[in-house]
Symmetry: C2
Subunit: 343 residues, 2 copies
């Protein structure tokens, strides 16, 4: 058996060569008394013959690679990230990288601390959805110290970098045009914020679709903020009390939309009949919401996969364009949207 | 300024001493051209005077501590873990530890690979909710190699170890007794599995409460499996078609309960009126579900906090009891439960 110089030798390579389990190899290399001495010696000799280095920390001082990739999002509990994280994980797993996950809760200080930790651990790179108001200097800190950054879901204003995200303006335009085609004329936009590129782009898409149809865009019909179920639920009374009584709500994401529908139902109205609602993300639960939610597939998995590939390409010295790659959303029409009823 | 030998010197200590930001210190210590040479030298001298060691990998080869703690659960996207992870994070943050998160998706092989990675990174310990059918040998692998293990939410059969979890049998007993007190006699148990300690304990609690009230426990009234919204939603038709038409469902968790309520509503019934439903976990969204869900507070945050403290105690050489610590659940009564209606 020949192993190329610099190629990573895995426990499974050693295990396969001897017909034992990787757990046995792992224990033997650490001199565990759980493995008979004779077996231990046989495994260690074989490992040595293959050039295996057990201590990854010691190894990483010699080579410049630790095999660690940082992944950071604002809230791992948001199911929107589920698909992204899963596809990143599959891609990194396949390439033998370790995946370290961090939450920044949209706090730039927490994000910077995570970047510092990655630098200290000698991580190879980071894939991140940047916090609101991320200072360009914090990204430069990473890059200047040999930690390449690839962005998902959001971009940082005034920074040239690889970004993988859905085409938010286009997606919301699809949702808004769908409502207009059903006959809605007074349409509110619920949730999101101007502090993120996603929030700005989605509001712009809504404005464009309304203007193109010759409909009025009233600033008071934008209820910014909600991005969670609780947020959507809490804003329902304000939505229902809006002047001119909009008959439909384009929501920033599925969570806000489901929360809004629950809040509308709690107030005695029938979402999908009295009030039409659209979501964004096509989360698993969109299809089982009451009523089933009309929403946009956002290409989350695709964005995660492409971001992981881009980072691996960068690490292999291959050029990666420092620009946005937009994934085209698709509209899924379900039962939360219907022709308007006068309220 | 005196720093005790062995005490960790942080970037903020250096920064505070010089009145600069930690980002500046971080950049200077890495010879970043973004910081003026004079400032860089001043910072490096001060850091050296304090005995600061930049490279954590180099440092961790000399001391036996890496400052890394692994945390592993079956699915980080399950909001049940949100509170647990947040409280662990707060506790570890406060103690200057880095938090590495892993998903095992209830696959013991994936769990073992994560343990091996932690061993290779020289992690200090691991807090985990063990995968279904975890082999005791995999936990011994960690312990035998100096990686102490603390369990949350579930325990491993036949293994003595510190475990922090809610009192599942007692919690389900509370839910079942609440339904019985409302007048229900035919009560089904939806979700969970005998492959986890949680699933076994919750089914036992349901059986106990039924038996104590002199009510029949029919095996066919247990619909095992669902632990997600989709699972609860999908099983609704089977629940509605059960012989003897149970008037209430005790659900394994909030996700299955909310899914079941949606499925019951989709089939044209009114959850909370025709059918009473209880959840478990008291997730944030339990209160905004339609109808608002009667459920049990499970002490998630408390379990996470205690588990993190126990691990830190172990690392500081303090004894920690190798047994289960059960947190007492509390019933929250909302609108998903009412007196039975004949169906």
């Amino acid at each position: 058996m020949t192993i190329k110089s610099g190629q990573k030798i895995k426990l499974s390579t050693i295990a396969d060569g001897l017909g034992v389990s990787t757990a046995t190899v792992s224990l033997a290399l650490r001199d565990s008394p759980l493995i008979a001495e004779e077996t231990r010696n046989r495994i260690k000799q074989h490992a040595q013959a293959l050039g295996y280095i057990y201590n990854r920390r010691a190894a990483s001082l010699r080579t410049s690679r630790s095999g660690i990739i940082g992944v950071m999002v604002h809230d791992i509990m948001n199911p929107f990230f589920a698909e992204i994280l899963r596809s990143i994980e599959i891609e990194l797993d396949r390439n033998g990288h370790t995946f370290i996950l961090g939450n920044h809760y949209d706090q730039p200080e927490k994000q910077r601390r995570f970047i510092e930790t990655l630098l200290q651990l000698g991580a190879d790179g980071v894939i991140m959805s940047p916090a609101i108001c991320t200072p360009v200097a914090d990204i430069n800190l990473a890059e200047a110290n040999g930690l390449p950054v690839v962005f998902i879901a959001r971009r940082v204003e005034d920074l040239k970098a690889p970004v993988f995200r859905g085409d938010d303006a286009y997606g919301i335009e699809l949702a808004t045009r769908h409502l207009i085609s059903l006959g809605h004329r007074r349409i509110a936009m619920i949730g999101g914020t101007d502090y993120t590129s996603t929030g700005r782009d989605r509001y712009r898409g809504y404005q464009q679709a309304m203007s193109q149809a010759g409909l009025e865009v009233k600033p008071e019909w934008r209820l910014a903020g909600p991005r969670t179920k609780q947020g959507g639920f809490d804003i329902a009374p304000r939505f229902l009390a809006l002047a001119d009584k909009p008959t439909a709500a384009v929501c920033y994401n599925d969570l806000a939309a489901i929360g809004l529908m629950n809040g509308v139902a709690r107030a005695g109205h029938s979402p999908g009949e009295d009030i039409s609602v659209t979501g964004y993300d096509n989360l698993e639960e969109a299809a089982i919401a009451i009523p089933a939610l009309t929403t946009l597939w956002n290409g989350q998995g695709e964005a995660g996969r492409r971001a992981a590939r881009a980072l691996l390409d960068l690490l292999n010295g291959q050029p990666v364009p420092h620009e946005q790659e937009l994934i085209r959303p698709q509209l899924h029409i379900r039962h939360s949207t219907a022709a308007p009823k006068e309220r």
